[in-house]
Symmetry: C2
Subunit: 252 residues, 2 copies
C-alpha cells in the first residue's frame, strides 16, 4: 500500500488530510510521509500552484480552491447525482424526510446528493462526509451485496459496531443477517447513526449486480408507523432499482 512512483507520492500528500487533521506543517508532512525537505517542498509548490493546496498563516498547508472547483464539476457530471436528484425530489415531496444517494467507493460510503423536505434535517452526513461501515441502513444495504471474499474482512474490521446494532455476535451471524437484507431488497435501521432517526436504504447496482451506491430516506422515528416504513421501503427499493437500470443503460 506504500506509494511507489513519484506520481503516487505527490498524491499521497493529499491523502493525509482528514477531518481530524485539516492542516499540516511541512515539518509534520516530512515526518509523516518520510520525504526529504527539498522533495516535499517541491511537491508542495506543485500542488499549491495547481490550487490543490494553499498556505495558511502559520506556514502550514490546507486543501485549496481547486478542490472546490472540481467538486462543482463533479456535481454536474456524476451520473448518480444527475439521475438521482429527480428521484430524491420525488421522495422528499412524498414524505417529510431527507433523501440521499451515497456512493460506495474504496471501502467508504460517501454521500453525493441530498435533498430535504424538513425544516431542520436531522442527517449529520452531508455531501462528502464518509459514513461508518458498521452502522446504519445504508451500510448494510451495500454490504449485503458484496461478494463473500470482499465482505468478510470488512465485517471483521467492523464487528464491534455490527454487534452493537444487533446484527449478530459472530461474523457468521452477521453474514446470515445480511443475507436477509439482500433478500428483502432494502434495509431499515432505527437510530443507529442519528438518535431518533429511522434510515431506510436500498442498493444501486451496476450491470454485474455489484453495488455502487445506496439510496436512503431518513425520517424522524416518531413520524412513521411500521406500515409506513414498509411502504417507504418499497418505494426506496423501486427508486434504487430504477437508478440502477437508468445507469446501466446510459440513460442521461
Amino acid at each position: 500500500m506504500k506509494p511507489k512512483n513519484s506520481l503516487e507520492r505527490v498524491l499521497a500528500v493529499l491523502e493525509v488530510f482528514s477531518e481530524e487533521r485539516l492542516e499540516w506543517t511541512p515539518e509534520d508532512l516530512m515526518r509523516e510521509l518520510g520525504y526529504s525537505r527539498p522533495t516535499l517542498y517541491r511537491y508542495l509548490k506543485t500542488l499549491k500552484d495547481a490550487g490543490f493546496l494553499m498556505s495558511t498563516r502559520n506556514s502550514g498547508v490546507t486543501l485549496g480552491p481547486k478542490v472546490v472547483e472540481m467538486d462543482y464539476l463533479t456535481r454536474r457530471s456524476d451520473p448518480l447525482v444527475l439521475l438521482g436528484v429527480p428521484y430524491l425530489k420525488q421522495l422528499t415531496a412524498a414524505y417529510s424526510c431527507t433523501a440521499m444517494v451515497l456512493r460506495w467507493y474504496g471501502s467508504k460510503i460517501l454521500c453525493v446528493a441530498s435533498e430535504s423536505s424538513t425544516r431542520n434535517p436531522i442527517s449529520s452526513y452531508p455531501r462528502g462526509r464518509p459514513m461508518p461501515l458498521g452502522r446504519g441502513a445504508i451500510a448494510r444495504s451495500i454490504l449485503a451485496l458484496l461478494p463473500r471474499p470482499r465482505l468478510v474482512p470488512l465485517i471483521e474490521r467492523n464487528l464491534a459496531d455490527l454487534r452493537a446494532v444487533g446484527l449478530g455476535d459472530t461474523a457468521d451471524d452477521v453474514l446470515k443477517s445480511l443475507r436477509k437484507v439482500r433478500k428483502a431488497g432494502f434495509c431499515v435501521a432505527y437510530g443507529e447513526v442519528t438518535p431518533g432517526a429511522v434510515g431506510i436504504a436500498a442498493p444501486v447496482v451496476d450491470d454485474r449486480d455489484y453495488p455502487v451506491a445506496s439510496v436512503c430516506v431518513t425520517i424522524a422515528g416518531n413520524l412513521v408507523t411500521g406500515a409506513q416504513i414498509d411502504q417507504i421501503g418499497a418505494e426506496v427499493r423501486r427508486v434504487a432499482s430504477q437508478i440502477s437500470a437508468d445507469q446501466a443503460s446510459g440513460k442521461p
Copy 2:
C-alpha cells in the same frame, strides 16, 4: 505555461475537465495533452486508484469521488468559509437576499460559501462555479485592489465585457472607474450577472491589503431603494473588513 515535470503532467490531466467538457476519452486526452498511450494510461490508473477520476461506461473518465470527499474537508478548513458563514447568516437575517463569500484565486473568482433567505435564490453561481471577471460587483470589488501590473492585462482580456457594463471605453477609463470603487470600499452592479438582481460587494484583503476574496449580497432589484442599497453596501463593507481583520489575526 506548459507542464514540465511528471508531477505537473499528471495534474494537467485534471485541468482539462471543465463545465464544457466533463468527460474525456483516453484517445482525446492523448491528443489534447500530447502524451503517449502507455504514459496516459499509467496516469489514468494512478488517478483512478486515488479516486480523483472514475471510468464511465463509454470507456471515458470523469472526476471521481475523492474530489467530493476533499471538498467536504475544504468546507471545514477554509478560514474564509469558517469565518464568513456567521456573517453571511447575519446578512441573510437582515435582508431577503443571497449572501456569499467568493475567493480570488489564480485569475478566477470562486464562490466558497453561500447563504440564502429567499425562497428561490436568484444567484446562478453556487459554490465552486467560477464567475466572469468582466461583469458584476464582485469582480470589480476585487479588481479595484489589484496592483496595476497585475490588473492591466486582466482588463485588456475582459475589455469587451467591461465596456458592455459601462465601465469605460478604454483600459484607462476602466482604471479610473475602478479607482472610484476602491475609494468607496464597495461596489454595486445592476443586473450585470443575473437580470433583475442587484449585486453589492466588498473586498476581503490579507495583511498586505492584497485582495483574497469578496463578500457579496445579491438582492432582487425591485425589493430595494437606492438608500437601502447604500445601507447594505456599508454593511457588506463592514463585514468584509471584519473578515479581513479576523483572518489576518488568525481568529478561528
